[in-house]
Structures are given as C-alpha cells and as structure tokens.
C-alpha cells in the first residue's frame, strides 16, 4: 500500500464512525485489524483504542484475541483505559477455557503495572500453583508474575517462596525454565528466602546434563535445552560461594552453602560434562552457538565459584585459544569471559601471557571486539603492566572510533591515577591524554588532574614546567589551556627562576591563547592573571592592561571579572589581594568522580550484574575506594565542583539507583537488605516446628535409631552413628500416600548463634520424586566443634497435589557426642573435687511438670534408663548412698577438645523429686547437659506401665494421622 492510500484508509475508518456499536463482531475485528496494520507500518493511530479494547469482553475467541493484541500494542502500563479492562481480564483468568486464561496472562505480562498487579496477582499465582493447571498455563503464569514482580516487588509474598521453588522440579521443562526465570529475579533480592533454589538448580542441571533426563522435544541441535542450562548456571552465580567477593551484603549469609559437598560435587560433575561436550567441534552453526552459550555461562560460574582449581586450569588455556579464534563471536565472548576472570582472579598471570593478543584486539575490524578488548585491558592492568598498556591505549586513542573515545579517555585517566608510581609519568600521560582526546574528555578528567597536582606538592613543579611547555605551543588544546591557566596561577612562581619560565614568558604564553578560547577558559585565564598580580609584581602593568581591555568586553561575566580584578589590583594596599589570592587549600578527600562516572554507565539493567568490569578491587565490597591508599598519591580526591553521582559505584554493583552522599552509600544498601531479612519467615527454623514433632524427638534423644515423625502421608525415620566429635545421620522418608510425591525437598537449618559450634555436610540428597510406598534417604555428617545447646531443624516439603510441608527438630544434641566412662571410686571423688563448684558445676532439683503428677511418676528404673540414655557410664559402688546415682562420661568436640563430665543424682522417690548435679572440666558444658536431662526427667513416665516404653508406633500414627501442615 502506498502512503497516500494508507492515509485515506485511516481517515475513512475514522470518519465513517464505524465503531458506532451497530457493527457485527466480524466487522469490528476486521477494522481493528486494519488499524493495527496501519500502526505497525509506523503511522500514528490515536483513535479507536476504546473500541479495540472493548473486543476483549467479546465471547468469541478470535475477537477477544484481536482485542488483546490491540491492547498490548496500543496501550502501555500507565494508560488510563487499562482501568476499564481489569475486570474483563479477571474474568478470563477465571474462565474454564485455558486459552482464555492464556490471553489474559499475555495481556498482564505485556502491559501489567503495579495497579494491575495488585488487583490480579492472586489469580495469577493461583494459576501457577493449582494442581489442575496445565503446563502451558503454568509457565505463562510464572513469567507473568515475573513481570509484575519487576514492576512492584511486593506483589510476590514471602510465604509463596517454598511453593514457587518446588515448581523448579516440574517434569515439564518449559515450566521449569519459566519458574527458574522467576526464581532468579526474586532470589537476587531475597537470597536467604530462596536459598533452596540453589540445591534445586544444581540437582536439575545435573539431571539434564549428566543423567540425560529430558524429552527429545527439548533437544536443540543435539544440545539438551540450552536455555534452561544457561538459566540454571546463571542462577547459581547469584549465590555467593565463599562470601569473599560477594557483591551484595545479603549474599554473604549463604556462605555456608559451600559446606555441602554433595551439591558441590553435582555442580562439578555438570560443569566438567559441559566442558567435555564443548571440546567436540562441529560444523552446524546453531549447535555451535548453543554449545558455546552454555560453555561461556559455565565458565562464568567456574570463575564465580573460585574453588574449582582443576576446572579453572582447563578454562584459562581455553580462553587463550578463544581470543585468537577466527570466528568473531568467539573472540568477542572470549575477551568478555577473560574480563570476568580478571575481575575475580587473585593472580593475573595467566591473562598477562596473552597481553600481546589482547592489545592486538584493539585493532580488530569489529568495534564490538575492540570495546571488549578495552574492557579487558582496563581490568587486567596492574602496577607491573600499566606502563605499556596505558601507552598502547593512548596510541590507539588517536584513531579510535568516536563512539568509544570518551570511555577510553576516562579509563586511561583512571588507570594513570591508580598506578601512578612515578610523578613524571602521571603528569606526562595526563597531559598527553588531554592533548589527544581533549574534545572527548569529560570535565571530571581535567579537574581531577588539577586536584591531584594541588594536593601533592612533589608534582607541582614538574606539572608547572610541563603545562607551560604545552601552552607555549601554537596548537594547544583548549582543555590544556584550562589546566595551564590554573596550574600556572597557583604554582607558576615555583618555576619563575628557571630558563624560559620567567613571569613575562608565562604571561605571554597564556595571553596568547586568550583570543582563541571560549569565554569559560578566558575567565580562568583572567583569574590566573590576578594571581600573577600577587605573585609577580614586576609584570603588573601588562596584567592591568589586559584587565582594562576586558572591562569593555561584551561578555558580561568576563566584564565583571575584569572590573573586579582591576579594582582589586589597583587598591592602595595589597592586603586584600593577598588574602584573596592565597594558596588554595588541598581538596577534601572523596571518592573519585571518575569512577562514579564510569560506573554510572552500568546502572539500570534488569538483572543484577554478577560482576563489573574492572580489576579485582572493583569487585570487592567497598569497590574502588581503596584508590585512596595508593602510595604515590598521598590522597585520592574528588572534585567538589562535580559533586553529584557519588555512590554510583555501589549502585552499579547492586543494580539500584541509590542516591547517597559520600561514602555513606555503603550503608544505604545494608539498611533495606536487613529489613527484608526480618520480614521473610525462615520456615526451616525452630520457630516453625510442626505440631507433633516432639514425641519422636524425645524418644530418639535416648536412642540412635527410630521413627522421628509419622503422619498419614509420610514417615520420617532416623539412623545415626557417633564417633568422637563426628556424627552420621541418615534420614529415611517413606511415602505413605497412594500416589507418587514430587519435588521432595529438605532444608537444614540451625540457629545463627550455634553455627560455629555445630557444622554439617550433606553427603547425599533425597530423590525429588518418591513413588508410592517408596523410600528416599539423605545422609548428613555433623561435626561438633564446640558444645552446643540448640538442635538443628529440618524443613521437609513435597508436592502431593498441594504443597505439604513440615519442620522437625533433629535428635542431635550435645550428649550424643558423649562416650560413657568407667572410673574408680577414688578417681571419681578426686576429679569431682578438682572441678569444684560453680561455674563448672550445675545443679537443679527436679520434680514432675506441674499438672502431670496424677498420671506420671519418677521411679528408679526410669531414672536409670534416662541416665544411660544420656550416655553416662553409671558407676556402681562409688556413692555411699546406694540410692544415689553417679556417672562419668567424655564429651567430644573438635575445636574445644574432650571434656570430662561427672554426674550425681540424688532421688527422693517419696516426694517425686531428684537433685541432679553435673560437673565438667569446662564451664560451657554442665548447664547444657543439665537442661537436656531436666526436661527429660520432669516429663516422668506414665504410671500404670512399669516397663518403660514411649508411645507405640500405632499410638503415634493415630495421634498424628491427617495432620496436614502447609
């Protein structure tokens, strides 16, 4: 269609008022379609929107579909018409026809904003988690939630986390992919709440890559769903492996993840497989791309993990090959990956080997590659190679593309300042940089040069000499004149004795530039002249002459300056002049404006960056602030003329656009993060124990093996073995439901205060699917580092239709790490006395819990059983009173060493009381043991039964059947 025809058509649709309501649905559809077509061709369509949007509420699918399409193309999230359609969209979300659900989800995912999110997120979430939702609805719902989350994070409620994570196990890879995208976005902001996603991603990745668990649909040119592989690999990078380089303060909490050797092994296996697969070269472009996409993401993860030495070695040699590849894409990506490596590596050695090649990439015919080369050179620069690199960059800057000159100049300036070990080098390079790149230089650069010279006395003479030489030349860039004007005005007197630098020569050089400069520069020159009046009285007449000329200029700013200076210089005494022209004080210390400027370029991306371009210190907390500690520049300073944009370095690493003043910006990030943590409930913690956790736990306190928990759907059994300070705990999970349960997940948790005292390593994870009547098991090794008083907890969740979840306390307490000991009577009393009373003694008089007296009792058999169960060796014939019990035991810890423990229990069965005294060789021990035993004894034992057993299995089953915990 020619333009004129389109115009006619557009006008006809408008004028005929075809949207008057009498048209049939078919015609409406036809006209909206025409409008859309005209719109796509780039014409302005500012009418008919309402009519188009009204089609959404049609009953016919085809009309609805066009209506929705028109809505996503014509409207945007803040459009007022959107208010009118919220109810239609809700209706379609609730419709039984999934295709209608999909249309509604698409609409929200395209134009949904905060308001729509608040109204409809509940329905979207329902579609995501409902067991009856089809796979193709679920994945759309997941991404729709993602959109809404990005618009307004509060849309996703903290309690949804567990359910959403469990969907990462969905058999449908499309659902798994979409949910992983959602989880990745949310986990960046709430890593602790979504830490379960780490294990899930590692396990799923291994299932796909190593075990080959996927359907053929998802093979993309022989690569199994590269998209989901990339997503999983990326997700893993959002969790900090060691905490050392964590970009985000919050992620530090996740450091303990690294203890799980099983997870680490799964990740290592997948990564190795990916590296191996990538070795096979092939001709197909798509396969190559997909394979390399996964490979480069794997490389990023390996660099991020920073613990896999073997893998690291493999990739450094490969990266060397990539950057010389004949394929441009590979060269580009190789340079990018190497930049990431340089951002993290302790040792830049492997990268420096390739310095020649990398410098060569600055001459690549493709600007994209040149840019990457520049990034890499910037990142790999350190004090040993800064000379050649900066020289090469300066050389290249003269011919560089305009698009990249400013950034290059900025980077050169930063490197020069950062690695300046030699005064002359700094001044030479800076002045040359200004001379070469003057037009592309932001003001921050030359202002910073002046600040550094002002604050460092040893630079001043050399700087003055050099700038004067530059200014004397005929062709001198205006920016150099600015620097010259300022430096000579301040420090010109330092070189006035030298040959060729006399006051009059300095004056001639500057005044020669006056005519060719812009008014801002002229003003600076005038200011330096008034300083000359103070410093060099011998050339005062020449200076006054210049002021006189400029007091008649048309530029009001210059005129005012000239008049004021003229008056100032002509005053009878020079007291005022001297005060005004006193030496400038050093500039206050602040973050470099150069870095702020560089990093401000990174702000505003959708996902947080996992690293930033720059050396290692750019990627450590506090970013590049340690520039202030460079030895050659006693200080690092920031411009007080360009005060904005501080804290941008933080903003860049965290992806926020936080505005802050000075260095306090660091705290800005800690604040909201901490709040979020408080808000998020940790369902795995002891505060959320499920009803009915206690009987099994209590029973297992005295036994190594048994059933920890059982309900109508799941039985949890425990077997354990203790050797010294080590414990091996095996959890068994038996599926009692009449169907397969999926997404079976366990999460261990322990109170923060105890984390240093008890550590664990997960040796194997339970299978995520358990068939009917089937069993899964998990092996965990615990190590008791010191005495601990709180037991770890485990959160178990699984999908049996809806999400089921329970939190149990593990029967793992300090006394489990004790071994009964034999002592003779003499030994016992000798040690008992040696230890002495408090603080290495704890004592309590224990009776039955009030209210239980009628049904429970304390008698000898029970007491003996408790003492033995708590792993004391009962010593016979030690205490003169045979009713009393004495016991001895050794408690093992790895960091605290072994503790000897002694016990004395004096019962009074008549009053149903006992007095319990515990002494130990360390004061941390007695109270903990006493408390554990006190709880147990005060519970007593039920009266009628003389053989002392806890409730039978049947009793537990009856008591807790049908307890559903969500």
């Amino acid at each position: 269609m020619r333009g004129q025809e389109i115009w006619r058509k557009r006008e006809s649709i408008k004028n005929w008022q075809i949207f008057d309501g009498n048209l049939s649905g078919y015609h409406k559809k036809k006209y909206v379609c025409k409008l859309l077509y005209i719109y796509i061709l780039g014409w302005n369509v500012d009418f008919g929107h309402l009519e188009a949007v009204n089609l959404i509420s049609a009953t016919k699918y085809s009309e609805k579909q066009i209506g929705y399409l028109a809505m996503t193309l014509f409207l945007h999230e803040k459009h007022e018409l959107l208010h009118l359609v919220v109810n239609s969209i809700r209706k379609d979300l609730l419709d039984h026809n999934e295709l209608f659900n999909c249309l509604a989800l698409h609409a929200i995912a395209n134009v949904g904003g905060r308001e729509m999110g608040e109204a409809l997120s509940g329905e979207v979430h329902r579609l995501l988690i409902s067991p009856t939702s089809k796979a193709f609805v679920k994945k759309k719902a997941a991404l729709t939630l993602l959109r809404l989350y990005r618009k307004h994070p509060d849309i996703i409620q903290p309690q949804w986390a567990e359910r959403i994570i469990s969907l990462m196990d969905d058999v449908d890879l499309g659902v798994a992919l979409s949910v992983t995208s959602l989880v990745m976005a949310v986990a960046q902001d709430n890593p602790d709440q979504y830490k379960g996603a780490y294990v899930k991603a590692a396990a799923r990745l291994k299932r796909i890559v190593v075990d080959g668990d996927y359907t053929n649909d998802y093979l993309y040119y022989k690569v199994p769903c590269p998209w989901i592989q990339v997503k999983m690999l990326r997700l893993l990078q959002y969790f900090s492996p060691s905490g050392r380089y964590s970009l985000n303060i919050v992620t530090k909490i996740l450091t303990r993840r690294s203890e799980d050797s099983h997870v680490r092994e799964m990740i290592r296996e997948s990564l190795q497989k990916i590296l191996n697969l990538a070795m096979e070269s092939n001709k197909n472009v798509q396969q190559n791309n997909a394979q390399n996409a996964v490979l480069f993401e794997a490389i990023n993860l390996i660099i991020h993990l920073d613990t896999e030495q073997a893998l690291m070695k493999q990739i450094s040699s490969r990266l060397g090959r990539f950057i010389t590849s004949r394929e441009t894409n590979v060269r580009y990506l190789g340079l990018e990956a190497m930049t990431h490596l340089a951002a993290r590596a302790e040792n830049l050695g492997p990268i420096k080997q390739h310095q020649e090649v990398i410098l060569g990439s600055l001459k690549d015919r493709d600007i994209s590659v040149r840019r990457k080369g520049l990034d890499l050179l910037y990142s790999m620069c350190d004090s040993t190679n800064s000379g050649p690199i900066v020289a090469e960059l300066l050389q290249y800057l003269q011919n560089a593309d305009f698009a990249i000159r400013e950034e290059m100049a900025l980077k050169i300036a930063i490197l020069t300042e950062k690695y300046a070990t030699d005064i002359q080098w700094y001044i030479n390079v800076s002045l040359r940089l200004v001379a070469v790149a003057g037009d592309h230089l932001s003001d921050e650069v030359w202002q910073r040069v002046i600040q550094i010279v002002t604050n460092n006395e040893e630079l001043q003479v050399y700087a003055a000499q050099n700038t004067l030489q530059h200014v004397k030349q005929d062709h001198c860039h205006e920016t150099l004149v600015k620097i010259g004007a300022y430096i000579l005005g301040e420090f010109g007197h330092l070189i006035a004795e030298e040959k060729g630098c006399s006051p009059i020569e300095q004056f001639m050089a500057l005044s020669g530039k006056l005519s060719a400069c812009s008014s801002g520069t002229r003003a600076m020159i005038l200011s330096s002249f008034i300083k000359f009046v103070n410093l060099f009285p011998e050339i005062k007449p020449q200076l006054l002459h210049i002021f006189e000329i400029y007091s008649h200029t048309l530029d009001s700013e210059l005129q005012q300056r000239a008049c004021e200076y003229l008056t100032l210089a002509s005053l009878p005494t020079d007291d005022l002049l001297r005060t005004v022209c006193d030496e400038m004080p050093p500039f206050p210390e602040r973050q470099s404006a150069l870095l702020s400027r560089l990093h401000s370029k990174h702000a505003g991306t959708s996902d947080k960056r996992t690293w930033v371009v720059g050396g290692k210190d750019a990627n450590v907390d506090g970013s590049e602030l340690n520039m202030a500690k460079q030895p050659a520049l006693k200080r690092a300073f920031s411009s007080n003329m360009t005060a904005n944009g501080d804290g941008a370095a933080n903003g860049a690493t965290n992806g926020t656009n936080g505005h802050s003043t000075d260095l306090a910006g660091l705290d800005m990030n800690a604040g909201p993060a901490a709040e979020k943590l408080l808000k998020a409930p940790n369902l795995a913690s002891a505060a959320h124990l499920s009803p009915g956790w206690e009987p099994g736990y209590n029973k297992l306190l005295l036994k190594a093996d048994g059933i920890l928990f059982e309900d109508g759907q799941l039985q949890v059994g425990v077997r354990s073995e203790y050797r010294g300070q080590m414990a091996c705990l095996i959890l068994y999970f038996l599926n009692k439901t009449p169907a397969t349960i999926s997404s079976f997940t366990t999460t261990l948790d322990l109170d923060d205060s105890e984390r240093a005292n008890l550590t664990w390593d997960i040796k194997s994870l339970p299978d995520s699917t358990i068939s009917q009547g089937g069993q899964a098991r998990q092996v965990i090794m615990f190590e008791s580092k010191k005495v601990f008083s709180k037991s770890p907890t485990v959160r178990i969740s699984y999908l049996a239709g809806a999400l089921q979840a329970l939190t149990l306390k593990l029967p793992l307490t300090a006394h489990k790490f004790m071994d009964p000991a034999e002592l003779s009577s003499d030994d016992f009393f000798k040690r008992w006395k040696q230890i002495g009373g408090a603080p290495r003694e704890a004592q309590a008089i224990i009776g039955l819990v009030s209210g239980k007296e009628a049904t429970r009792e304390i008698h000898e058999v029970f007491v003996r059983k408790v003492i033995e169960g708590f792993r004391w060796g009962i010593l016979v014939g030690v205490d003169p009173n045979t009713k009393n019990f004495v016991g001895a035991s050794v408690l093992h810890t790895s960091e605290g060493g072994k503790f000897g423990c002694l016990l004395r229990l004096e019962p009074n069965y008549a009053s149903q009381m006992v007095r319990l005294t515990i002494r130990a060789t360390d004061e941390s021990v007695p109270a903990v043991l006493l408390k554990l035993m006190e709880q147990r004894i005060s519970a007593g034992v039920s009266k009628p039964s003389l053989t002392h057993e806890g409730p039978t299995r049947q009793e537990i089953t009856d008591a807790f059947s049908n307890v559903l915990v969500t």
Partner: protein, 161 residues
C-alpha cells in the same frame, strides 16, 4: 528499511521507541559480514530510567543481538549482562517456529498475517524471557487457537445459512 514487526517488553514513550528503532537500524545496517552478531548500544540517559526485558530492546544500557535472514534482520536487545549466544538462538528458534507454521516462511507471510507472527512470538517469549523452547509445544498451542477460531467461523457460517 522499514519495521515489519516490533515487540517491546519495556514501557517506553513512542518518541523513545522511534529513536531506538532508528539508531539501532542504522548501527546494524552499517555492520559488515563476518563481524560478530553483538553490538553495544547506549540509550539516552533519560531512557536509562526504564529497565527490564525485551525483544527489540529490553533495558537500554544494552547489547544488541542481531541476525540476518536474507533481506530480513531480526534484532533483539538484552541487558549488558545477558548471555549473547543464547539470545541469538532465541531469534533462530522464533524464525524456525514461523518456518514450521507457515511452511517456508518469507517476508510476505509476516506482513500478511502479522497477527499470527505476534501470537507465535507470545508463545515463545513472555515478559522478555523464553517460555518454551519445544517447537512441538508451541505448535500445539497455536494449533489449539486456530481450531477454536475455525470452529467459530463454522458456527458463524451455519448461523447465516
């Protein structure tokens, strides 16, 4: 050079959109063969306020990933941290998907049934993220839509008769 189909996953003013389309087209057309498929594109500082996903730009401190098929350029924008190659293959998957649906797709198919091209894109990308990489699954979804539409047309015909 004209745009046949554009889909935005970011909220932008028409003016910003037009500027981006113009800038990016120029940049991409200036590229020669054997250059890489990636390109840096810095939007104006103003548009930096917007972020998040898109096919044909998502976020503006961005990378451009493009691929040429005969006379058609497919261009996607992604954030500077995104995986370039996998984005490139999203483009290819979309093209393949259209090829499968239309049967040997050409420019005219996209022009004449642009609505379908949008519907297919919606099945592949949502909120700027890939939602389905299985060709069969996407085809099934589109097939369901088509048959529902056909049914409605039949109903209409019967009613008129």
């Amino acid at each position: 050079m004209s745009t046949r189909l554009a889909k935005w996953f970011t909220t932008l003013s028409p003016k910003d959109k037009a500027k981006i389309v113009k800038d990016v087209s120029q940049l991409v057309l200036a590229r020669r063969t054997r250059m890489c498929n990636f390109l840096e594109y810095k939007g104006s500082p103003l548009s930096l306020l917007y972020s998040h996903g898109s096919f044909l730009t998502r976020g503006l401190d961005t990378k451009i990933v493009y691929r040429r098929y005969a006379s058609l350029f497919f261009i996607a924008g992604c954030s500077s941290d995104d995986n370039e190659l996998i984005t490139l293959e999203i483009i290819h998957r979309y093209v393949e998907q259209m090829d499968k649906y239309y049967g040997n797709v050409c420019e005219l198919d996209i022009i004449f049934s642009f609505t379908k091209a949008y519907y297919i894109l919606d099945e592949i990308l949502l909120a700027g993220e890939l939602q389905e990489s299985s060709k069969k699954n996407v085809l099934r979804c589109i097939g369901q839509q088509d048959s529902l539409e056909d049914m409605e047309v039949e109903d209409e015909v019967t009613r008129i008769m």
